[in-house]
Symmetry: C2
Subunit: 253 residues, 2 copies
Amino acid sequence: MPHIRVPVTRRERQREATYDEIVAVAAELLDAGADLSLRAVAAKMGLTAPALYRYVANYQELVDLVAFELDKAATAEWAAAAERFPADDPAARLAVGCARFRNWALSKPRQFALVFANPIAAGDTDRRELLTISTSGHFFTDLVWQVWELYQFPFPALDDLDPVVREAVLDPLIPAKSEHIPREDRGLMWIYMRSWSALYGVVTLESTGHCDPRVIESGQLFRATVLDWLGPLGLDGERERLTKILDEELARR
Amino acid sequence: MPHIRVPVTRRERQREATYDEIVAVAAELLDAGADLSLRAVAAKMGLTAPALYRYVANYQELVDLVAFELDKAATAEWAAAAERFPADDPAARLAVGCARFRNWALSKPRQFALVFANPIAAGDTDRRELLTISTSGHFFTDLVWQVWELYQFPFPALDDLDPVVREAVLDPLIPAKSEHIPREDRGLMWIYMRSWSALYGVVTLESTGHCDPRVIESGQLFRATVLDWLGPLGLDGERERLTKILDEELARR
DNA sequence: TCAGTTTCGTTAACACTGTTCACGGTAAAC
DNA sequence: GTTTACCGTGAACAGTGTTAACGAAACTGA
């Protein structure tokens, strides 16, 4: 019986490598302060612009490709940082993850805008599909789930949820490792959505600069927002310890 | 002694009218689903593109101009809607204002992105200046202030604030009608910043579509976020009444 | 009223975008 | 070894923001 991994021909490997080079070059471009453009990427690779159309259907698809990979790479960083705490301490890992997420958003606003502030039209199911498998989404959902396993904070019963929301938590479109969450515990997803909304909110506000720069610098707005969520996540008992961790990470900036 | 109003020459009136036409045409363009472009605006006015440079220094300035005016116009709508409640009922007006803000953001995502998700570089003091006089900012700050006058909810003392934040609330860069707030009550601005951050967060999340469409449709995420802020704003006693108002406005969509 | 100046628009041009098309050469497949 | 599929090219089109040199009309002051 053949292995899971399909026998990769030489051409397929070549093609894969080209994709990697595309996102690498795009990342360099963004880091250099330029904005993403098909032609610039092509030129930096020693190609002409039309050649890129062998790899992406259009500009938007290029954007989505690098957005996905940037998200993946950034999440790997946060996850690695979070691992300075053991796997049986998800609360600490979550605190580190949130702070790292913010630090990343502040230090790379262009990248953040690409991944998280990139408008997705209501009808565009393909692009929404991509959102579903967003790496950062899985990372945070999974941590919230682990926190719940340990601290058993309360969440709404399915019957208490708005019917439309109930549908959404039972068959989630948003990024979530929800398969291993039993049906009757899916109300948990509501807590995830709400806390993610809060986190996303402050970080976007700060990263896009729609805020007093001194307030951003102080980190107090972010800090207060995160601390407000300790209660709902059953982490009141860990308040002191987690606050310290959070402050450590914020100071790292 | 000359009047405050400088004697407007014929030329100045002409120029003013041209500015008005620019934003009007730009608004039409956005409403039609196109995106804002110097050349398109010029063409729609019967001008060539370079002519617009007599009115704006560059593209970004055009964007800022129409963003400012869109914000102004939208705020006027929300304010008018809020006036279905009397001036001595700021809580109801605030509820209406928040809901209208969201409805606007959802029905005109392109405009919302222009005004509220438009990245502002940290060093750009000119563009941040514009933010300071944002009409919507004044609208919401003033309502929070009026709510406080009536309900006297608690806010942090200046001494309890982080030094950097204290500076920021004493000499605010963010949009705020703060002149009439006495120095010792400036801690109130912190409540404003935090509540605005929460409101901005959900609305941006929903408007940019980084969220399950069904959750947006239900309005529950927004609703829950607003309701969470009734307590801190001293409005627990008004919970039932305000929830009803909020639901009415949300159903209007 | 006439000269001088300011303001507002033009055309032409440059350097960029994304995108399509018709055409080769080269590598894999049968 | 022939065929086929893939990957790249150059040319071209329709856009974009932006600068420069220039002209006409409108205001200004003597």
